[in-house]
Symmetry: C2
Subunit: 254 residues, 2 copies
């Protein structure tokens, strides 16, 4: 049984506690958070502490905390027998204090509390300083996911950046689409099939093969109609993306 301590109380900590608890090969022996907010995890039945001096013995100490809290927390840890992992896309492995063995365990997915995800399909990007630690982290990751990828800090940062486009920004465009529907009393679920098909096409083909629409066609008349229908903030998004598309497809910018 692989023993882990999860530190933190955000979306990542919540999901890791959940999936680890459900995994036959892993035991979450303790959950740490600096204050009693940690109690939100009590329904997992995991022992809790808010004192770093009381951390239990484990194979892994997983720092599932905000990016800018990782380095400091790793400094404040006592010397431990297990490997200290962080779960961030952007933080380098070298930002972890080296009094302990260190590594990275980055699940590439958008996680919101209370929204279940299928971890088996989530790629987990791992990194370690030496191959022995790497093997141990691989064993941990493979308990919950079928896609475990070794990746350097630099590559992981690039993958995280790509994920910001593919998730955070895409979702913000869904919001613009939804807002337009709301403003015109249009049932927003009419867009469901389009949203699904767009995602499936992107996976099946390259985005270049799937691109359609007025900006690709250089249809300035439709673009101009659209710009007149939008508020200032949304207009700026529309214009920036259309200009980029127009340029990409060899047409004159707006």
């Amino acid at each position: 049984m692989i023993k882990v301590v999860v530190l933190g109380s955000g979306n990542m900590a919540w999901h890791l506690c959940k999936v680890f608890t459900a995994s036959k090969g892993i035991e979450v022996v303790q959950h740490y958070h600096y204050n009693s907010q940690g109690s939100i995890f009590k329904n997992f039945g995991i022992s809790f502490t808010n004192n770093l001096k009381n951390l239990k013995k484990a194979d892994f100490y997983i720092l599932a905390v905000a990016d800018d809290a990782i380095a400091k927390l790793s400094i404040n840890l006592p010397v431990l027998n297990g490997i200290v992992l962080h779960t961030s896309g952007t933080v380098a492995i070298k930002d972890l204090e080296t009094k302990n063995q260190t590594g990275v365990f980055y699940p590439l997915q958008t996680l919101s509390k209370n929204q279940p995800v299928d971890f088996t399909k989530i790629p987990i990007c791992i990194e370690a300083i030496n191959s022995s630690d790497l093997e141990k982290i691989k064993l941990l990751a493979s308990q919950i996911s079928t896609t475990v990828v070794e990746m350097s800090s630099d590559k992981r940062a690039a993958l995280h950046l790509a994920a910001v486009f593919a998730n955070n920004f895409v979702n913000h465009l869904y919001k613009q689409a939804t807002d337009i529907c709301r403003a015109h009393n249009i049932e927003m679920h009419l867009l469901d099939e389009l949203i699904t098909e767009t995602a499936l096409k992107a996976i099946k083909n390259t985005p270049e093969e799937s691109q359609t629409g007025p900006a690709k066609r250089g249809d300035k008349k439709t673009i101009s109609k659209h710009l007149n229908m939008l508020s200032e903030d949304t207009k700026k998004i529309y214009k920036t993306l259309s200009d980029s598309l127009l340029e990409n497809y060899g047409r004159e910018k707006l």
Copy 2:
């Protein structure tokens, strides 16, 4: 049997010929295109003409042509016994010349030639001048789709604009993500699960509930790291969307 003539030779014409030909209740009696490019449809086994004077008798004449060709083509048509439909999201019904009965038949989907789609799931937005024509168009649409929605030209234009965000622009963001992966030798299919989950979440919840990421958190340090990794064009897209997110979530803009 509902008889239709399809005019045009783009993605929409291709898909309509395909789905109509496969439908038991519809017969495509003729395909028109102004030049012999129409021959790309010959494998459907549909009679072809490039002469508007030779159009066959049908219940519907479907103008599946570019937006700015619709009005002119409707003027050039002879007086016909069937209803003349266009398939555009943005063109108003009143742009069709009224010597014939007119209507709109707009399938809300991104269509690329040779890429099969399941028309039964595609919403078809219809419009007509009178209720008798509307019923006929509804009957046609319901042969191929389970979601047929009556919608005014104004509402349809707004829905089309929403679709530009949810499809054209989203796909362009997928391209940015893919480009970043390519530049860093990262297997781009690592993003597949994220792309799928992002789309499914948007359908199940509101985009506001699903939003995550550095801009939502106001994490300027990560945003600044990201901007430094990007080319000028992509940086502009990143900045515009991040500024919009920062503003949306009550944080100071970049």
